[in-house]
């Protein structure tokens, strides 16, 4: 028998410790495990390091809440909604240290972590200043006589947070037909602990009907939590679009410390649970609009 992995949001988030390096699978406005991110803030987690390819609103909320002190990633941006201003301010104030990597360098660091290698090389970044400011990147002669490469030191995040469409109670994770988000192929595999929220917990038979859509096996997943609209206000194709109004409300609030506190209280720390959060952000009516990409 496989082990049961079902957990509550509270218990799953409690697997993350203060100071942990936490990989967040997401892109600028897509597929972020927001229910878990909010729960980490509710639990007042501190000194987190965030790993992301392109971090958006989850990074800005964690920065606004003072929950993180370092970032390892390729970019932080909410694309059409602009730069993440609270993150930016925290970096400029020296409260968050940034290890900026190109996409192939991040992939190489995670790939080495996943495969238990000391490093993997890339040809990216050569000639840039990003190598000089980063002890985890070192120019390396090709032992076979070719051009030099950049050795990217293995990165093993303590935890990876992933949002998915479907999971069974044993932690097998299924994706619906959609673009696979960039680092799903590597980020969770490098992490020591993997926590997944899913739009729905399904019977294993549902996954067996389309095993080609199972993207992570249960044996590597430590906890699964049911969280419908768990990526809100980011998009989660094909189920729903990003919430434009909420992104706009956030960028408005982010200009002012007091407004940030009010926003976080209203949407993050205030609602008693995930269901209450969904009511606060507009309930069934808004969820229908998001499903139809009418609020994006």
């Amino acid at each position: 028998m496989s082990a049961e992995k079902l957990a509550t949001l509270e218990d799953a988030a409690a697997l993350v410790c203060d100071g942990d390096t936490v990989a967040i699978l997401n892109m600028a406005t897509q597929a972020a495990p927001m229910a878990l991110v909010r729960e980490l803030i509710r639990q007042e987690r501190q000194d987190l390091g965030v790993v992301c390819l392109v971090g958006g609103i989850p990074v800005d909320w964690l920065a606004a809440a003072g929950a993180m002190n370092r970032l390892i990633g390729a970019a932080v941006s909410m694309e059409q909604f602009g730069l993440c201003q609270r993150y930016r301010k925290a970096v400029e104030a020296g409260a968050i240290r940034v290890e900026e990597l190109s996409e192939t360098a991040l992939n190489a660091r995670l790939g080495a972590g996943a495969r238990n290698l000391p490093f993997l090389p890339t040809r990216g970044l050569i000639g840039t200043d990003l190598i000089d400011v980063n002890d985890n990147l070192v120019m390396l002669d090709d032992p076979f006589g070719g051009p030099s490469v950049v050795a990217c030191k293995a990165l093993v995040p303590d935890v990876a947070l992933v949002h998915a469409h479907k999971a069974d109670r044993f932690g097998n994770i299924g994706y619906e037909p959609t673009a696979l988000w960039p680092d799903l192929g590597i980020m969770p595999k490098a992490a020591t602990t993997v926590i997944v929220t899913a739009e729905e917990i399904v019977d294993s038979e549902v996954l067996r009907a389309n095993p080609d859509r199972t993207v992570l096996p249960g044996f590597m997943v430590d906890a699964v939590v049911e969280a419908p609209f768990g990526a809100h206000p980011t998009s989660f194709s094909p189920r729903y679009g990003y919430d434009t109004a909420m992104h706009l409300e956030w960028i408005g609030a982010a200009r002012d410390d007091e407004a940030v506190a009010v926003f976080l209280e209203k949407y993050v720390t205030g609602p008693a649970d995930h269901a209450a959060y969904l009511e606060t952000v507009g309930g069934a009516e808004q969820m229908t609009a998001l499903r139809n990409w009418e609020a994006s």
Partner: protein, 272 residues
Amino acid sequence: MSDWRNSPPAEDWTIDELMIARLAACFGDGDQACNGMASFVPVSAFWLARLTHAPDLVWLAGAVGLEPRPDRVPASTLEAPLWRDSIMYVEQYGDFWNFALNGRWLTKFCVGAAQLDRYGNGNNSVIGTDYHNPRVRLPGTAGLGDMGSIGKRLYYWNPNHNPRSLVERVDFISCAGYLGGGSERADAGLEGGPELVITNLAVMDFHPETRHMRVASLHPGVTFEQVQEATGFELPAPEGPIPTTEAPTAEQVRLIRDIIDPDNMRRREFGR
């Protein structure tokens, strides 16, 4: 297929349309093109090329969706509506970077950078002299830090040509151009490099030996002095009359306005 070959120059073109048409001319059949986030000008250019001179230009929307059929340019160039009806989803870690790093494919790449210097180095990392204590934290290099170093031909687009974005020397190199100029890029073992800079005032290229940026063509109605005024470093004085950038044709303008981007998303990049 539209009758683009016999179309006269447009009479009421706008600068976004000129930039899109000029960038489209850089991409042909046999090329593969991909776009990143907030890339309305490149996306419109790829699409325009496919509707006119380059029907076989391969487009990998958002570096995710192959040969998409979007309804129109959407509010995001990195969200699902852009890659509607794709023939394949390209997984980033396993597929996209294999294709991009291989060297045979995706040989051209469009770059938007907060700062670009006279030798074509780009900066999307930090403003200020100390990386760890920046005056301004920019979004980050994302894929540019790779594309500048792996032999791609780089096409910079800049809808807001001003001395803050076109600088003598970038505060920090997050996309490798010709580095310190001359043979420095080649000496570092890097192939490819910056080809063109297409702005709202002019098209610039790079001198084949010094690798210094220079004006290749002025957009209609723009003078060299205006471009110099808007540039944060000294441009080489023109050796003769500078060509005028070709205005888009009536058909190109119609395609952009009616088919590709009826919601004017491309305008969002201008006036910043």
